[in-house]
Subunit: 256 residues, 2 copies
């Protein structure tokens, strides 16, 4: 009876059609704009490993509440994209050197298997998708670093998709994110992430159904990516706060 004003608050999530019973996406949290935003920012290297992810800042940036942010951070932490330290907050995950190597090894395993399965399952629509992507990648502006990063990631995702295993696709996606973090942590300055000529070669070999060749090319491509990082003392081991402090200190010195 104490019904206050029936003020309708704006819904946090777009209202899905409730008429269909099982329209719920299995990965219910992955359509969350906060999670997607952070993942995109990381994959595009706008968020660097060790960067602080303050709850209030994120809430203001995404126009939502702290509770929502906290849920998103828990989700991302469980996927090892974010590291949560009690009473200190959340930071972009910074893999250790050993973990970086393990990530590349895992990608070698999953993606060579994906190439093989993709060739086995390749049909007309798959060929069309692959060709379309190769077109886009060939014609894209290589000076646009963000578009470049997105496109190169999309190639690997497309191959994993063509393999036809949703579980392995999700795992590959996770590994690609973590690869971004590994590269961002240990990359040599000024080096590109992917050799730009590798993807057309791999794509052509897949289209030609040259399984051994495509697997070899993919493995070589990942080896190339791994070769671009170096352990460089103290890069993955230092405390996150130390890294942040170092960065802030460097900027302060440069500024004055």
């Amino acid at each position: 009876m104490k019904r206050t004003r029936p003020v309708k608050r704006r819904p946090k999530r777009p209202d899905p059609k409730r008429s269909e019973p099982e329209v719920v996406d299995p990965r219910s949290n992955d359509d969350d704009p906060v999670i997607q935003g952070i993942l995109t920012a990381i994959s595009q290297k706008r968020l660097k490993p060790g960067a602080k992810l303050g709850e209030d800042k994120l809430a203001a940036a995404f126009g939502t509440t702290r509770i929502h942010i906290r849920q998103a951070l828990v989700h991302l932490a469980s996927r090892k994209v974010v590291m949560q330290i009690p009473n200190r907050g959340a930071f972009v995950y910074r893999p250790s050197w050993e973990e970086a190597q393990d990530i590349f090894a895992a990608r070698r395993l999953l993606e060579t298997a994906a190439v093989s399965a993709a060739i086995d399952r390749l049909d007309k629509s798959g060929k069309a998708e692959l060709k379309a992507h190769m077109e886009r990648e060939a014609r894209h502006d290589r000076n646009d670093r963000w578009a470049s990063l997105s496109l190169t990631a999309e190639f690997h995702i497309l191959v994993a998709k063509l393999a036809g295993n949703q579980v392995l696709l999700d795992m590959s996606r996770e590994l690609m994110l973590r690869t971004s973090l590994a590269i961002a942590t240990f990359e040599q300055p000024g080096e590109p992430d992917c050799s730009p000529d590798a993807h057309p070669d791999i794509g052509a070999l897949i289209l030609a159904r040259d399984k051994a060749g495509a697997i070899h090319a993919m493995r070589h491509h990942i080896d190339d990516m791994e070769r671009r990082i170096r352990p460089e003392e103290g890069k993955g081991e230092i405390d996150e706060l130390t890294a942040i402090f170092k960065d802030i200190g460097a900027r302060a010195r440069a500024g004055g």
Copy 2:
């Protein structure tokens, strides 16, 4: 002079007693007893797919608050162990038939690779660990279903550990959990999960460094597991509540 005393607040997380063998200690990096408890309950099949995970019930069961429970559920949902439906709550995840097949395919890939790597890296301590586990598995009480399930899962985890890749180990752990859910969803009544004789064979082949044989045996073992499940109309598709109701109804009829 209001000196802030270093008063230690009562810890929200009761210390988990490790009396039982922790089959599922995924690096679900949280030593959170709620997460560990739910994971253990699922791997031991005390929690069935589709079971409702009410926040108040869980909070009471674990002696903690709803906030804590909600965090744990978000974590588990991101691992696809729990399914969260907006405004309706959390349920133990129920994979579809296609997803179940993908899970087994992923395990084939990861675990055959693990066998290969384990043989390559096998050293004295690894051999000792493997032998010790095979001893335990040989002498365990096969009537104790929970211990049985724990031990058989531990064998696969041990092999993945011996492969020496922490990232792939974590993924394998996750896949094993999801295998439990897949089997629980689609299993034929009264069938055991693992053929009890497969593990000694695989272990012996690893100890003998027979790589081709061990890989073949592992693949065959996983094939066997997969063959034990059947699509059975409407088992993975029916609503969770329907499944619960069916189970309760069956027990009520049996009881009187």
